[in-house]
Symmetry: C2
Amino acid sequence: MRIGILGSTGPAGTALGARLASVGYEVILGSRSLERATQEGTAAGGEVVVVATPWDSAAPTAGELERHLTGKVVICMANALVRVGREFQPLVLPRGSVAAHVQAAVPSCRVAAAFHHLPAKELGELGEPVDSDVLICSDDKAATSAVAEIVNRIPGCRPLDVGGLSQAMAVEAFTATLLQLNVRYKTRVAPKFTGIRS
Amino acid sequence: MRIGILGSTGPAGTALGARLASVGYEVILGSRSLERATQEGTAAGGEVVVVATPWDSAAPTAGELERHLTGKVVICMANALVRVGREFQPLVLPRGSVAAHVQAAVPSCRVAAAFHHLPAKELGELGEPVDSDVLICSDDKAATSAVAEIVNRIPGCRPLDVGGLSQAMAVEAFTATLLQLNVRYKTRVAPKFTGIRS
């Protein structure tokens, strides 16, 4: 399966692309920078497309590429965060989440939110398992299943279905909390949930 | 140390009260029900006071008891959630979080948000460790330390400092995600964060 990544020059997109390629997917990297403009359309041609742009470009980028995305599973991994002083703070967008804005920009797509909480560095260290649960939400159950299948291919990752796209607000916002832990404890955390049998 | 619990008749307040008593704290339970009205003032007399009321009573209850609470560490464990159909959804309040509203209602207190993610049943099973990280945020570092000390007394729990009270929005909202996992996987999850050395 071919997976396109929009906004692949950021640390999260780069790391996810490398990791997905390492587990056997054909990965097409796209970027908005001028010289690579054609690549973005190519990346949008993947069977599954990941939106890994900065949060404020996510919905416009998906909207511009809508003709390539119709009917596809689109995975939104962007978070709306700001740094205020030394603190990372979540922004709550008018529709609740970045993923909800992407879904509104491309209503014909099946948007899932996932991959927010994986630390980019560990994700990019291809020799090592990631050791993290990956929360997935979507209003389309088949999209959740498709993303879960991708997550299952990544060593150490476990997909967990948290329900509809209305959960994306909480999932996205919680990324700020994880970054706070990273700064406070000089580490890179990943979340795991006890009590679920794999 | 005496710990007062406001709203102690709910499952979370009951379980936390029992657990704190089991690890050696003197716990004073308060409730808003008419026949116990005097107890609420007594509970507010604890050296540390936990607000475990329903979310929409948290700030008014703290506000009414302000004269008992001045200068104290007040722990807010309430979450603003609604059930929409079969889904638990977080509400974002005008100040971001329930804890921020409590802090605004009792500005002389040192409000910390904590204990949102502990499953009540496991918390109440006093013979068993809880096995969960407990996220704490506050604008008062001494309040965070005081709560961390309490958390450290609970077997299996690890306190983690996630920063200022502005994080309470994400921490509170994430409770909805955990409830979603509980329903979806017929379990009771608790969060743990890998990558932090205890």
